[in-house]
């Protein structure tokens, strides 16, 4: 695993929400998608992913459903709820504010 960068809980939540923005995925799929959209920087282990998924599910931002997967086995699929989408937008905006400020600070 190239350079294990530690992920804060809040950051992981944001990534999961973003990963599901395009459509529903099962647990493993979420992990693969995060790897994809971060260009391989973050590879989330099941040990961190599943607790986070369940937490977001209970918070009401995701909903889950058992569906047949691509190979016709049953898998638990997660998708964004309406409040989940709102939460994603809010957290993304917040992240941008922080990133801008950090960038400015580090350039100074």
């Amino acid at each position: 695993m190239a350079g294990r960068t530690t992920l804060l809980q809040g950051t992981l939540d944001l990534l999961i929400l973003k990963a599901l923005a395009a459509g529903e995925l099962h647990g493993l799929g979420v992990s693969r998608r995060i790897e994809q959209i971060t260009g391989g920087t973050f590879s989330v282990q099941p040990g961190s992913l599943f607790p986070a998924l369940h937490r977001l599910d209970e918070a009401g931002w995701l909903e889950s459903d058992w569906r047949p997967s691509e190979n016709n086995r049953r898998a638990k699929y997660y998708s964004l709820t309406k409040s989940g989408r709102k939460q994603l937008a809010a957290e993304a905006a917040q992240w941008n504010v922080v990133a801008l400020a950090m960038g400015r600070a580090l350039e100074a």
Binding site: H26, G27, L28, Q45, P46, G47, F50, P51, A52, H54, R55, D57, E58, A59, G60, W66, S69, N71, R73, R74, A75, K76, S83
Partner: protein
């Protein structure tokens, strides 16, 4: 974060746990399958694919654990789990649980009981409706608070605008005849608006009307709710019925509500009757306690200010009612007026003492839990290895201790209630509001908080070392790392011994005081003496001559009585406050002071058995119109006539240095004709004061009437067992049947009653000290027994290396005695430091009395020795072969 979503999840997680677990299982299994598929597609064989998938998924159990922890309700679930587990553990060791429960229940229960009393007497607000509008009106007589005189009461009643109503009352000893039984009942004579001030309305009938508050008005009464229930069976037609009160028919006009409470008397009031207040400007007797209800919208401060400003106009209107050092009318609190300072201090000291006992009990239970925790070290280490955090382990131990603590608290509440009941029965009557002692929310809350606090205290003490257990070290075969724990245990023993020492010293000092007081020579012989005291003074006995005539007639009635040998009258009894007056020795203006003054009949000294040292006793010829005489006691003679003969000298009563207090008192004074032995006229604790006695026939009315009481009679029985009571009562009856029934009691009771406070305090503190001693002894035994069990191997080795039984026993005993010794020293130092607190209660012994300190130290060390004896013997009996094999 949606609450609804959380709520739903919480419900689901707690109630449908199985379904949730199965769901997670399925999800993880499906993820595993997907991974295998992925790997196979990437070209691996089935077996390699499965192995890789397993690695990718990671350890399943910890994963599930983490998901569970992330769920809502995880902590609740964990708590429930801990509680269930703790209950199971506690049930499995019933001996441990019982001992811990009992020890704590005793400690918390004692605290609950004392707090109950402290709460009832000092903390609870008054029981009246809207009690914060009720104020106490008192007269500040230059530093001390007094009740009002009738004149003052009337004046403020008429002029004070900040009060909606004012009321006063007087205790009336009453006898009620309602049909077949005659019994004494606590009764009150009350002024107008009494019920209005307190805020009660009768549930049946009415209160009193103005016409009934006139002296000589119609005889009516309002009865209490309990009396209505028990004597009249809650009959609806009780209004209008008559009862016989003190042999007079009295019509019932109302029934008080059940909530009626009168905290100014210790017995619940059963009957109230209207009082007609006679306002005599010359009457300065301050006998009228006063309460008032503030007018709506008026604050306490405003009322206080008005009371002060009215004092000035009062002083102008009635100058003889206000003396120079009086500061005037103020508003006071119930506590200031009715709770004596020493009582308040005593209660708080008691609270402190009982807290010490609780701490000792906690130390014992902490030791018990420590021993138990040590046994569970293996289990704790395993838990840590499985991923439990330190917080989780601490929570586990705390759950157990909180369960025990709360259970003990519930037990303590019951125990405390019983103990409080016993306390109420035994408390001397000068502690007010004892009737209010009972379980209310404050006491329950206190008990609950105490249980919780003690649980956390001893649980924490036990949990802390458990949480620090190092896994590797603990799982090794022979655990050696118990030094830290044993230091805590030793420390607890030191603390217990120290606290016990403090309590023992306290109890010892109070006991020494009590014993010293019982040995005090009262100066008279109370055996075989009976006193008759009339509770009030009716009309017709205003002057000294009236009193003397009354006494004479009673004594005549008893002449030749078969049961009474001698009888005398006096203005007050020994050991009770009497009258004191300023005086100057005739012709010597520098010899002046305040002395005790008593008016007595000639037979007084003989009846009481007081020896005449010099001169002559009073004769019947020392009457009105004859030269006024006096007899003084030895203290008086020593004080003013050291080396001279006082006989023949004169005392100018009412003269201070050169000035007469009152122009009416100017005169040649009284001549001293005799000297009698000292007796304790005021109290057992007080040294005999300078006292002068005058014949009642010659006593000035002004002095005779200061306390407004009838003279008391003292009779000496001819032989034991005679009915002196009846003879006295009949004689008084025969002379004046209109007098209220006298109180009759043996003088022995008086002496005992004067010691009531000391006896109570000494008993209470001794009980607490004994409790502390027992708990400490138990603690020592427990610690030593446990230590021996833990160190059997070490003992075995020592014995194998040649140590003898007695040597080992000595080792063990030293282990038990050493911390106690340290504790004793600390306890002695603390007692010395705290000596000022108890100094006020002691008599005849200093707070740092070496004899007491030494005795109590010996007691504690002796108990420690005894407690160490059994474990020491057991250690000496250890079989080295056995110990080395099993260790």
């Amino acid at each position: 974060m949606s609450f609804k979503s959380r709520g739903v999840s919480l419900w689901r997680n707690l109630v449908h746990r199985d379904r949730v677990e199965r769901d997670l299982d399925d999800e993880l299994r499906s993820t595993f399958d997907l991974l295998v598929e992925e790997n196979v597609r990437a070209g691996m064989t089935d077996e390699v694919a499965r192995r890789k998938a397993a690695l990718q998924l990671g350890a399943v159990e910890p994963l599930k654990e983490r998901v569970r922890d992330a769920r809502s309700g995880a902590s609740i679930e964990a708590l429930a789990q801990d509680v269930r587990y703790a209950l199971r553990l506690l049930r499995r060791s019933p001996g441990f649980t019982a001992v811990a429960l009992l020890t704590l229940a005793l400690g918390i229960g004692a605290n609950s009981a004392i707090f109950n009393v402290v709460d009832a007497v000092l903390l609870r607000p008054l029981p009246f409706p809207d009690a914060d509008r009720v104020v106490h009106v008192a007269w500040d007589g230059g530093g001390h608070l007094q009740s009002l005189s009738a004149v003052k009461f009337q004046y403020w009643h008429d002029h004070a605008r900040s009060f909606e109503a004012m009321a006063t009352w007087r205790h009336l000893p009453a006898r009620v005849d309602a049909g077949t039984n005659v019994s004494p009942v606590p009764a009150l004579g009350v002024s107008r608006d009494f019920l209005r001030v307190l805020g009660y309305t009768p549930v049946l009938g009415r209160g009193f009307v103005a016409a009934e508050h006139v002296p000589g008005g119609p005889m009516v009464a309002v009865i209490s709710h309990p009396m209505w229930r028990t004597r009249f069976g809650s009959a609806a037609d009780v209004v209008g019925r008559t009862i016989r009160l003190n042999d007079e028919p009295v019509a019932i006009v109302g029934v008080l509500p059940e909530s009626f409470a009168f905290p100014y008397e210790n017995e619940p009031v059963e009957v109230i009757v209207p009082l007609g207040l006679t306002v005599d400007p010359n009457d300065v007797a301050e006998n009228w306690p006063t309460v008032a209800r503030l007018r709506g919208g008026v604050t306490r401060e405003q009322a206080h200010t008005e009371a002060g400003s009215l004092t000035e106009s009062f002083r102008a209107a009635y100058p003889n009612q206000v003396s120079a050092q009086d500061r005037g009318m103020i508003l006071a609190t119930f506590s200031e007026l009715y709770v004596v300072d020493s009582v308040r201090r005593a209660l708080w000291i008691l609270m402190g003492a009982v807290t010490l006992v609780l701490l000792i009990a906690c130390a014992n239970v902490a030791n018990l839990f420590l021993a138990r925790a040590a046994r569970r070290r293996g289990e704790m280490a395993l838990r840590t290895a499985l991923g439990a955090t330190r917080g989780r382990i601490v929570r586990l131990v705390l759950t157990e201790s909180v369960l025990v603590g709360l259970a003990a608290g519930a037990l303590a509440l019951l125990l405390g209630r019983w103990v409080a009941g016993v306390l109420v029965a035994l408390t001397p009557t000068e502690v007010p509001r004892m009737a209010a002692v009972g379980i209310d929310w404050r006491v329950t809350l206190f008990t609950f908080v105490a249980s919780l606090a003690t649980s956390v205290l001893f649980g924490g003490a036990a949990a802390w070392p458990a949480a620090r257990a190092h896994v590797a070290e603990v799982l090794r075969e022979s655990p050696r790392g118990s030094s830290g724990r044993s230091r805590i245990r030793q420390g607890l023993l030191v603390a217990q011994s120290g606290l016990s020492m403090v309590l023992l010293v306290g109890a010892g000092l109070l006991l020494a005081t009590l014993i010293g007081l019982t040995r005090v020579d009262t100066g008279f012989d109370p055996e075989g003496l009976v006193a008759a005291r009339l509770p009030s003074k009716p009309a017709g006995y205003e002057t000294s001559q009236d009193l003397w005539a009354f006494e004479q007639r009673v004594m005549q009635q008893l002449e030749g009585s078969p049961v009474i040998a001698l009888v005398a009258g006096a203005s007050s009894l020994p050991l009770e406050r009497g009258i004191n007056t300023p005086m100057t020795i005739g012709g010597r203006p520098d010899l002046w002071g305040t002395v005790e003054w008593r008016a007595v009949t000639p037979a007084y000294f003989q009846t009481l058995g007081i020896a005449l040292a010099e001169g002559r006793p009073f004769e019947n010829t020392d009457g009105a119109g004859r030269p006024p005489v006096a007899i003084v006691n030895e203290a008086f003679a020593r004080s003013y006539f050291a080396g001279e003969n006082p006989i023949g000298q004169r005392i100018e009563v009412g003269r201070v240095k050169g000035d007469w207090i009152d122009p009416s008192r100017v005169g040649p004074g009284v001549e001293i004709v005799g000297i009698v032995a000292d007796i304790r006229e005021v109290s057992l604790r007080t040294e005999p004061r300078r006292t002068m006695y005058v014949p009642q026939a010659q006593a000035p009315t002004l002095l005779s009437n200061v306390r407004g009481t009838m003279p008391v009679f003292i009779a000496r029985e001819r032989f034991p067992g005679g009915d002196v009571d009846r003879a006295l009562m009949n004689a008084i009856r025969a002379v004046d049947p209109g007098l209220p029934r006298p109180q009759l009691f043996p003088l022995d009771d008086l002496v005992a009653r004067s010691l009531a406070r000391e006896r109570f305090g000494a008993t209470l503190l001794s009980v607490l000290a004994a409790l502390a001693l027992a708990l400490t002894a138990f603690g020592i035994y427990g610690v030593l027994a446990y230590t021996i069990q833990q160190r059997r191997r070490e003992i075995g080795i020592r014995m194998a290396l040649g140590a003898s039984g007695p040597q080992v026993a000595r080792l063990v005993m030293v282990q038990g005695i050493a911390p106690v010794l340290v504790g004793v020293i600390l306890g002695v130092l603390s007692s010395i430091a705290a000596s000022k607190l108890v100094a006020g209660f002691l008599w005849g012994v200093t707070p740092t009395d070496p004899a007491t300190l030494a005795t109590m130290a010996a007691v504690l060390l002796g108990v420690a020795l005894a407690a160490s004896w059994i474990p020491a013997r057991e250690a000496a009996g250890v079989d080295p072969v056995n110990a080395l094999n099993c260790g």
